[in-house]
C-alpha cells in the first residue's frame, strides 16, 4: 500500500469515529437536553409511593358503653407494583406462605398492574404472628412485598346484634361507580349493611397516607411525608346488649324447642325476629333477626362456601325491619280502637259468638264451640275472631286503615337502618287498583281480625304497641349520640314524635289496654305464660295463617301496664301459636328487663 492509500484509509477511520461520536452526541442532546424534563418526571414517579394509612373505623357502643364493634390492630400484606416481574414472582411465593391460591394472587396483581401500576395490591389481611415472622424473614426474596399495620374491624360479641351492626367489606365495583362513594378507592372497606352502612360517613374517618421513597425492590427506604389518618366517630346506640342477648338466646332456644317438640313439632321454626322499644322515646333496646351471622367473618375475609351457606338461609335479611308478615290477631287492637272511635260498637256491647259468624258461616272462631256473648275487652282477652269479624263488617277496610295508619302501620317507621320494608295496609282504593274489584264483605270482616292483605314488619308492630301504650307515636331510633375521637359529642338525637293520638278518646285507649292486660291474666290467651310475673304485662298473641306452611307465631305487648316503659314484639316464622310459641320469648325479655337487670 502506498502512503497515500494509508492516509486515505486512516481518513475513513477518522470519519467513522466522528460519525459515531456525532450519533451518540445527538442522542444525548435529545435525551438529556430536549426531553430531560419528561424523564425527570418519570424518574420521580419511579421512586415515590403513597402507602395508605387506614383510618380506624369509629366504635359502635351499646347504651351502657359496651363495645359492639371496634377496631383492633392487625397486619396486612401488600405487594408494591414496581417491577411487574418481581410483583408476579412474589405473588406466587406468597401464596404458599399465606395459604392462598397463588393463581388468585397473581390475578390480583395483574389486575392491579392494569388499573393502578403505581400503587400496591393488598393480598392478605389480619395475618397471624407466625406468618408475619415468616414473611419478615423472607423479605429479601419477596421483592415488593410490604407488611403494613392496619386496623381490622372487630365485633367483640360475635354475632350479637349482627343485623343492627351489619358488616364491612371491600367496596364493590358497582358501589365505586356511585356518586356517594366518589372518595373511595378500590380495596377500601365500606359498611355494607346495618349501622355500618347507614352511619358509614360517620364511622369511616379519613384515611391518611405515608409518602415513601422506595427502591427498585419495593422496600420502603425513607419516609418523606406522613398524613395521619383521622379515626372515625363513635356512635352510641340505644341497644342494651344484655336485653339483646337475652332476646337472641330466648328466641334461639324457643325455636329449637318448637322444632323438637315431642307433641306437635314445628320443623320449620328456624327464623324469627324480636323488637324491643322504649315506649317513652322510641329508642330500640333490642332488635333481633335470626338466623344470624358473625360479622367478624367479613373482616377476616369470608369464604365463598360460608357466604353461600348463610345466603341460602337468608341470614343477611333483617327480618325485624325488612320483611312484612300478616299480623294475625295482633292487629285486633287497631280494629277495636277504630270501632270505638267510629262508634260502631259501644263500650259494653256484646256480640254473640256461636263458633262462626252468622253472615258468613265459613268464617270460624278458633274455639269450635264459640265464646258466646263477648264484649270488646273479653274479645281481646280471648282473641275472639267472630267479634272482630263483626267489627270489620261494621267498619270496612278504609275505616280500619285510617286508624292503622295512626299507629304507623303500613309505612316505614324511619328507624336509622337501610332496607326497611313498608308493608301493606289495605284500603278499598288499593284493592281496586290491584284487583280491579270492590272489597268483599268477607274481606272486610277478615281484615277486622288481621287476616287478608295486611302485611307489617315486626318493628311496625312493636311501634304500634308502643303507641298504643303511651298515646304518642315516636320514630324508632338506634343511635342516640355521635361522639368525636376526642370525646366531644358531635350529635345528640332527641326523640322524634311522629304522631300524637290526642284526638282519640282516652277511654277508648284505656278500654283496649284493659283488654290487653286481661290477655296475661287468668282466662286470657297468654295467661299461663305470664303467670307469676310480678309486673303487669299488657299483650296480645297472634297466630297468623300462612299458606306456605305452619302459622306464624306472634306476641306483642308492653309493660308495666301502669307507666309503660318497653314494648316487645316477637315473631317466630312457622312457629305455630302465638301463645305457646312467641309469648314465652317475650316473658323472658320482660323478666330480663324488669327483674334480673334492674329497670332503667
Amino acid at each position: 500500500m502506498t502512503v497515500e492509500e494509508i492516509q486515505k484509509r486512516l481518513a475513513v477511520f477518522l470519519i467513522l469515529l466522528l460519525v459515531m461520536t456525532s450519533i451518540l452526541s445527538l442522542r444525548l442532546v435529545g435525551l438529556q437536553l430536549v426531553n430531560g424534563e419528561k424523564y425527570e418526571k418519570l424518574s420521580v414517579g419511579n421512586k415515590l409511593r403513597v402507602i395508605p394509612l387506614q383510618a380506624p373505623r369509629g366504635d359502635i357502643l351499646d347504651r351502657n358503653l359496651q363495645p359492639l364493634a371496634s377496631s383492633r390492630p392487625a397486619f396486612s400484606v401488600s405487594i408494591m407494583l414496581l417491577n411487574p416481574n418481581d410483583a408476579l414472582e412474589s405473588a406466587k411465593k406468597l401464596g404458599a406462605i399465606i395459604g392462598k391460591d397463588p393463581g388468585e394472587l397473581v390475578r390480583k396483581v395483574q389486575e392491579g398492574l392494569k388499573l393502578r401500576p403505581f400503587d400496591s395490591v393488598k393480598v392478605a389481611s389480619d395475618i397471624s404472628p407466625e406468618i408475619h415472622t415468616q414473611i419478615a424473614e423472607m423479605l429479601d426474596e419477596l421483592p415488593g412485598v410490604v407488611i403494613e399495620a392496619e386496623p381490622i374491624r372487630y365485633y367483640p360479641q360475635g354475632s350479637l346484634a349482627a343485623h343492627v351492626l351489619g358488616y364491612v367489606h371491600e367496596i364493590s365495583q358497582e358501589q365505586l361507580s356511585k356518586p356517594q362513594f366518589q372518595s373511595y378507592k378500590p380495596g377500601d372497606l365500606v359498611g355494607q349493611f346495618g349501622l355500618e352502612a347507614s352511619y358509614e360517613s360517620v364511622l369511616r374517618g379519613t384515611n391518611g397516607g405515608k409518602q415513601v421513597e422506595v427502591d427498585a425492590t419495593g422496600h420502603p427506604r425513607s419516609i418523606l411525608g406522613r398524613t395521619e389518618p383521622i379515626p372515625g366517630q363513635t356512635i352510641l346506640t340505644t341497644i342494651d346488649s344484655r336485653i339483646q342477648k337475652v332476646a337472641e338466646e330466648a328466641l334461639t332456644e324457643q325455636m329449637k324447642r318448637l322444632r323438637e317438640s315431642p307433641g306437635r313439632p314445628f320443623p320449620n321454626a328456624k327464623s324469627g325476629a324480636v323488637v324491643v322499644l322504649d315506649v317513652r322515646t322510641g329508642a330500640v333496646l333490642a332488635l333481633v333477626s335470626l338466623p344470624s351471622f358473625d360479622p367478624n367473618e367479613f373482616a377476616r375475609g369470608i369464604s365463598a362456601a360460608k357466604f353461600n351457606e348463610l345466603q341460602s338461609q337468608n341470614a343477611f335479611v333483617d327480618r325485624a325491619i325488612s320483611l312484612a308478615y300478616p299480623p294475625g290477631s295482633t292487629f285486633k287492637m287497631v280494629t277495636a280502637v277504630a270501632a270505638l272511635e267510629e262508634k260502631k260498637v259501644a263500650k259494653d256491647e256484646t256480640v254473640y259468638d256461636p263458633g262462626y259468624h252468622p253472615a258468613v258461616p265459613s268464617l270460624h272462631c278458633w274455639g269450635a264451640s264459640g265464646h258466646g256473648a263477648v264484649n270488646l275487652v273479653r274479645a281481646i282477652k280471648e282473641s275472639c275472631n267472630v267479634f272482630f269479624y263483626e267489627m270489620g263488617r261494621r267498619l270496612g277496610l278504609d275505616a280500619i286503615a285510617k286508624y292503622a295508619a295512626r299507629f304507623g302501620l303500613g309505612k316505614q317507621t324511619g328507624v336509622d337502618l337501610y332496607g326497611e320494608a313498608t308493608g301493606l295496609l289495605p284500603t278499598t282504593s288499593w284493592k281496586k287498583s290491584v284487583y280491579h274489584e270492590d272489597v268483599l264483605m268477607a274481606e272486610n270482616m277478615m281484615a277486622g281480625m288481621g287476616q287478608t292483605f295486611h302485611l307489617y314488619t315486626p318493628i311496625q308492630l312493636a311501634n304500634y304497641i308502643a303507641t298504643l301504650a303511651t298515646g304518642v307515636r315516636h320514630k324508632p331510633f338506634l343511635v342516640q349520640k355521635v361522639i368525636a375521637p376526642d370525646g366531644k359529642i358531635v350529635e345528640e338525637k332527641v326523640p322524634v314524635v311522629e304522631d300524637n293520638l290526642g284526638d282519640i278518646k282516652p277511654e277508648t285507649l284505656e278500654l283496649v289496654r284493659k283488654g290487653m292486660l286481661e290477655v296475661t291474666k287468668p282466662g286470657g290467651t297468654a295467661a299461663g305464660v305470664f303467670a307469676g310475673l310480678p309486673i303487669d304485662v299488657a299483650g296480645k298473641t297472634g297466630t297468623a295463617e300462612n299458606s306456605l306452611g305452619d302459622n306464624h307465631a306472634w306476641f306483642v305487648g308492653y309493660a308495666p301496664f301502669q307507666n309503660p316503659e318497653i314494648a316487645v314484639c316477637v315473631l317466630i316464622e312457622q312457629g305455630g301459636h302465638g301463645s305457646s310459641a312467641a309469648a314465652p320469648v317475650a316473658r323472658k325479655i320482660f323478666e330480663a328487663y324488669f327483674i334480673s337487670g334492674g329497670a332503667n
Binding site: T21, L31, V214
Partner: protein
C-alpha cells in the same frame, strides 16, 4: 540511562492522560453505582482501584516492550487464546446463565476479554505476514476463518457481545491492511441485513435460530419495545429514564435516584454510562465521549506514525475494538444499540475488561514509543 530518557521523551502522554481521566470517573461512578457511601461497602471500588494501578503498570511495562516480539509469537498467542477459551468451556464458572469465568488461584478471569486483545495481536501478525492484502471475496472470507474458532467459543459461553467484537475488529484490521473497502462495507451491510431479517423472521414466523430468545429479544426490542416490556425493555427504559433525568448538569454523584434506588440494573457494569448521565448530566456524558474521541484520534495518529505494517494493523485493531465498545455500550444505554453486555472501556467495574483494555493501550503506546523517528 541515556536510552531510557529518550524513551520517556518519546512516550505519548495523551493516551495515559485519557486513561487516568477515565479511571478517575470510573472510581467515582463505581462507588456511586454500588452505593458505597450508604452501604459503607467499598470493596468493589477498592478492587477497581487495584485494576487501575495494575493497568497503569501494564501500560508502562508494555510501552517499553518492543511490540514486534508479538509478531514472532503469533502461533503461541493463537494457541493460548483457544486454550483459555476451551478451558472456560470445560472448567469455567457459571453466573447469570453464562459460563464466562475461569478461576486461577484467587483470581477470577474472563478469558473472552483477553481474547479480544490476543486476537488483535495474532490476527495482525497473520495479516502482516502475507505478501499482499486479501482482495477477492474468497481471500477475505478465508482470512476471516482465522478468527472463527475463538468467536464461536465465545459465542458458545454465551457472550454474544464479545463474540461480535472479533469480526468487527477483524474487518477494521482488514481495511487497514488494504482489503477493498467496498467489499468490506458490502459484507457488513449484508451481515446486518441478514441478522435483522432472521430475527424478524424468528419472531414473526418462528424461524429457528441458534440464539437464546433473550439475546434475540435484546436486539428486537430496539425496534419494538412491546416484544419484551418486562425484561430487556425494562432495562432500556430504566436506563433512558436515568440518562434523560440527568438533564444538563446531573443530579450529583451519589444523588441519582435511578441508580441509588436500584431501578437501574447492572449499574456499576454494563449501565454505568446511564449512571454518569443521571448524576453528571449532559456535561458528564459529553465529557466522557470527548475523552474517548481524543483517545481514539490519538490512536489513529499513532497508527499513521507506526514504523511497520504490524504496528499500524494492531493499533487500528485496538482502536476499532475500543471504538466498538464505546459505540455499543453507550448506544445501548441510550436505547439505540442492543443490550449485549459489552462494558464501557476503563469505566465499567470489572478487572478482566479493564486489564485487557490496558494491555491494548500499552501495546499502542509501544507502537508509538517504537515509531519511525522523524528527525528534527
Amino acid at each position: 540511562m541515556q536510552r531510557r530518557r529518550r524513551d520517556w521523551k518519546n512516550f505519548d502522554i495523551t493516551l495515559v492522560v485519557c486513561f487516568l481521566l477515565l479511571s478517575v470517573v470510573s472510581l467515582l461512578m463505581v462507588a456511586s453505582a454500588t452505593r458505597a457511601r450508604s452501604t459503607h461497602d467499598y470493596s468493589v471500588v477498592k478492587k477497581q482501584a487495584t485494576w487501575v494501578a495494575t493497568g497503569l503498570v501494564l501500560i508502562i511495562g508494555l510501552a517499553f516492550t518492543p511490540y514486534e516480539q508479538w509478531l514472532s509469537h503469533e502461533r503461541w498467542l493463537y494457541v493460548v487464546n483457544l486454550g483459555l477459551l476451551l478451558a472456560v468451556l470445560i472448567f469455567g464458572r457459571s453466573a447469570l446463565g453464562a459460563q464466562r469465568w475461569l478461576k486461577v488461584g484467587p483470581v477470577v478471569i474472563q478469558p473472552s476479554e483477553l481474547a479480544k486483545v490476543i486476537t488483535v495481536l495474532s490476527f495482525g501478525a497473520y495479516l502482516s505476514k502475507s505478501d499482499a492484502p486479501p482482495r477477492s471475496w474468497k481471500e477475505i472470507f478465508g482470512t476471516l476463518l482465522y478468527i472463527l474458532p475463538s468467536a464461536l467459543l465465545i459465542f458458545k459461553q454465551p457472550d454474544l457481545g464479545t463474540s461480535l467484537v472479533l469480526p468487527v475488529v477483524a474487518v477494521g484490521m482488514l481495511y487497514m491492511a488494504g482489503a477493498p473497502g467496498t467489499k468490506l462495507a458490502t459484507m457488513i451491510c449484508g451481515a446486518l441485513a441478514l441478522v435483522g431479517g432472521l430475527i424478524w423472521g424468528h419472531f414473526r414466523y418462528g424461524i429457528p435460530l441458534p440464539f437464546h430468545d433473550y439475546q434475540l429479544k435484546r436486539v428486537a426490542v430496539l425496534f419494538d419495545p412491546s416484544l419484551d416490556p418486562l425484561g430487556a425493555g425494562y432495562h432500556i427504559r430504566q436506563s433512558i429514564i436515568a440518562l434523560g433525568s440527568g438533564k444538563l448538569v446531573g443530579k450529583g454523584i451519589f444523588m441519582g435516584d435511578q441508580s441509588q434506588l436500584k431501578f437501574l440494573p447492572e449499574a456499576s457494569t454494563d449501565f454505568i454510562y446511564a449512571v454518569i448521565g443521571e448524576e453528571l448530566g449532559f456535561l458528564g456524558t459529553m465529557g466522557i465521549l470527548l475523552v474517548y474521541l481524543v483517545l481514539l484520534l490519538r490512536m489513529l495518529k499513532i497508527a499513521s506514525q507506526a514504523k511497520d505494517t504490524y504496528g499500524r494493523l494492531i493499533t487500528a485493531g485496538m482502536m476499532s475494538m475500543l471504538a466498538f465498545h464505546v459505540l455499543v455500550n453507550a448506544g445501548m444505554t441510550m436505547g439505540i444499540m442492543p443490550v449485549v453486555g459489552i462494558p464501557l472501556p476503563f469505566v465499567s467495574a470489572g478487572g478482566s475488561s479493564f486489564l485487557a483494555n490496558s494491555i491494548a493501550l500499552g501495546i499502542v503506546e509501544s507502537v508509538y514509543v517504537h515509531r519511525q523517528k522523524i528527525p528534527f
